[in-house]
Structure formats: C-alpha cells, structure tokens
C-alpha cells in the first residue's frame, strides 16, 4: 500500500501510468477478491484530463450488483495514492467479455476452486458443449447442475469423480 497523502489538490504532481496501473491492480473484485479489476479486464483506461483522472470501466454483466462497490473502491484506492480528483465512467461498448481476462486471473480462479471461463473466440454456445474440467481433481467427467449460480457470472457443475459441486465463471 502506498501511504495515504492528505491535502493534495490542484497542482500536485500527476502519477505516471506505471504508478496508476499499479494502484488500480490493487483493487480487488468485490465478489471474487482473489482477482483484481485490471486482470479481469474491467478497467479499460486511466487518463488525465487536466487535473482530473478519468478511469473508464466496463462492467462484466449488465446487472452486476457489484458496480457501485467497484466505483467506490477505485476512487478510494486512487485517492489513497494521492489523486485528488477521480472520475469513474462506465463504458458499455464494446461489451466486456471473458476473453479479456488475463492468464494470471484464470490461474487464480482455478486455484480458488472456481473453474475459469473457457476461451470461446466469439462462440459461447459452442464452447458450452465441451466438457468442463473439475478445478479440484481435474476430471472432465462433470455435469451441468445449473446455468445460474451464486452471482450473475457463475454457473454450477458437479464433478462425477470427486463428487464435489463447483462453479464455473460463465464464458461471455
């Protein structure tokens, strides 16, 4: 964590790109704190417009209830890094896709027992026909339990071999 710097306003030195992205990479996803907003592909840009830093984000699912928390966490983290004036803007176009998630984020999900979204290259229906690997035992002998899960972005499977239910991040 960078030390909180109080009272920095207009005229303060601007953080450079490296520092900005480092700070943004410390903002966890509210529903899956093991991954951060940058590696999920939610933060699209961070640009200075005069003295204001404009952060543009693309929410994952249209109805994602975590949006307000995401907005607030970004502000708080950047303010702690010394950016006095932050504006978080939502851009829906182009739509967020799981293809934007980094390999690091996928590995973290996998390690936490949440199957990462399969790569689909634009064809979600096709990839949903393919077997899903159990994140615990690696077996492909798994069955779909529910197209919906505990958050809008997850679906539920059961592993036939290790008998455990697990969630997969929906390919989108």
């Amino acid at each position: 964590m960078l030390p909180r710097q109080a009272g920095i306003g207009a005229g303060s030195p601007r953080l450079g790109d490296a520092e900005l992205w480092a700070a943004l990479s410390e903002v966890p996803d509210p529903e899956m704190p093991i991954v951060n907003l940058v590696e999920l592909g939610i933060v699209r840009s961070a640009e200075w417009q005069a003295e204001q830093l404009v952060v543009t984000i693309t929410p994952t699912f249209a109805a994602c209830p975590a949006y307000a928390v995401i907005d607030q966490s970004i502000r708080e983290r950047l303010q702690a890094a010394g950016v006095a004036d932050v504006d978080v803007r939502v851009q829906h176009n182009p739509a967020w896709t799981t293809e934007w998630m980094t390999a690091a984020a996928r590995s973290k999900l996998q390690a936490a027992g949440l199957a990462p979204p399969p790569r689909h290259r634009g064809n979600v229906i096709q990839v949903l026909m393919e077997p899903v690997a159990c994140p615990r035992c690696g077996s492909h002998n798994t069955t779909l339990q529910n197209n919906f899960g505990t958050t809008p972005c997850r679906m539920i499977y059961t592993c036939v071999d290790c008998k455990e239910p697990f969630e997969m991040f929906k390919p989108l």
Partner: protein
C-alpha cells in the same frame, strides 16, 4: 441520427425495457418459492438479468432524449402511471404455477433471441452494441428455459397436464409479439430496428415445431383482442402498486 428517429427510438426502447422490467418483476416473485433450490437460484438470476437489461435500454432512451441517465430509469420505473407502461400483457400475467412461468420465459426468450440478433445488426451503433451485450447473457436464459420444456411436457402426467394448460393460457397472449413496437415502422424503414412481424413468423415456426416435438398441442385459440401495448390486464395495477410502493413512500430518499 435524425431527431424524429431519436424520439421514435426512445419510445421503442422504453417498450422493450418495460417488457424486461415486468418479466423480471414476475420472475423475482419465485425467489424463496421455487420448487427446488436450483430453480430458486435460476429465477432470481433471470429476474436480476432482465431488470439489468431494462436498465440498459432505459439509459439509452435517456441519452436519446437528453435526459439524465442516472435518474431517468428510476423516474420511469417508480413514478410512471400504470397506464403509461408499454409492456406486453404476456409478461404481466401473474406468475402462475412453475410450468406457467417457465413456459412464458421460454416463449419470451425465444422471441428475444431473434430480436437481439437483429438489433445487434442495427445501423445505430450504440443500439447494436448494447444488443450484442444482452444477447450473450440471454443465451443462458434460452438454454435454461428451453431445456425444461421437454422435461415438463414429457415428464409425469401432472407435469404434462400443467404444461399444456400453461401453453393454452399463454398462447393467445404470445400472439401479440407479432405487433410492431412503438415507432417501429419508421425505424425499420431506416434500418435501425427489425420488423416484429418478420421475427414473429420465424419465431412461430421454430417454437411450434419445438413444442409439438415435446408432445404439446399448440392450440391456435383466438389471440387476445388488443395488441397495442396501451391496454393492460386486470393484474397490472396491483403489480405496479407493489413495484412502486417503497419508492413512493419517500420519493427523495437516497439508496
């Protein structure tokens, strides 16, 4: 985009959004009441998604009208008179039994899939992009509701009977999907939106085939008499009262 088209499209989008909102509201009534846990989770998610999609359409309408998109959706949802909603009667009917809600979801999802596919080709780019976003999410809805129809219709005697009864009740209302949305004629001529009648023809062929294969009789009973979206059923006022009651208690409250 021309000003007349902007205005027409805002009305069109509000009608689309009203369908999503009201269907989402009915879906939400299953939360805590679905027959099995998985379906409780599924209907809660369907409700959340539909209401989220409504919000995107209301926001796009706000942009077109020069309204504040942070406030306009709430204004429309919580402070509009029931008579000014433009949703189909299909989506406002009480949730019924679980076969009824699942079949309604299927009928609506199957139509929406076609409409979103067409809207994602719209010449108006912001509309096309939002349609593409919603379309991917809706894949999961259709996949879900479609999987249940044969299970219900070919399941037990009781599930078959209830599913057939649901279809008989819903079919006359579903015919209103063929009617143009507000402003559709001009917008269609300009390449901005598809023709509902054309979508309906494709929908009918696909849905009738699917239902028949599941052993259901597609009863071509008389359609409801009013397709205008301006006339609501007797069930609508109480739905809106319920939906708006908290917001109207304190219109200035911050959430």
């Amino acid at each position: 985009m021309e000003r007349t088209h902007q205005y027409a499209l805002s009305g069109y989008l509000i009608a689309l959004a009203d369908d999503e909102l009201i269907l989402g509201h009915r879906d939400s009534e299953w939360t805590g009441h679905a027959p099995i846990l998985e379906e409780d989770i599924a209907f809660a998610n369907l409700a959340l998604d539909e209401i989220g999609h409504a919000k995107l359409w209301y926001e796009l309408a706000a942009d077109l009208l020069g309204e504040d998109k942070n406030r306009y959706p709430d204004q429309l949802v919580y402070f509009r008179e029931p008579a000014r909603f433009r949703n189909l009667q299909l989506v406002e009917l009480p949730k019924g039994d679980w076969a009824f809600s699942t079949l309604r979801q299927y009928l609506f999802d199957a139509f929406e899939a076609l409409r979103l596919e067409a809207l994602s080709q719209s010449r108006y780019v912001p509309l096309a992009e939002i349609a593409a976003r919603i379309r991917t999410e809706e894949l999961y809805h259709l996949r879900h509701s479609q999987a249940w129809i044969p299970r219900l219709a070919l399941g037990t005697e009781e599930s078959a009977r209830r599913t057939q009864a649901a279809l008989d009740a819903l079919w006359p209302y579903a015919q209103a999907l063929a009617a143009p949305l507000p402003g559709e004629a001009d917008l269609h001529a300009a390449g901005i939106v598809p023709s509902s009648a054309e979508l309906f023809a494709r929908w009918s062929a696909a849905v009738e085939g699917f239902l028949t294969e599941a052993g259901l009789q597609v009863n071509l009973g008389a359609p409801i008499s009013d397709f205008s979206r301006k006339v609501h059923s007797e069930h609508f006022e109480s739905l809106i009262q319920n939906l708006q009651s908290v917001a109207r208690l304190d219109p200035e409250a911050m959430w």
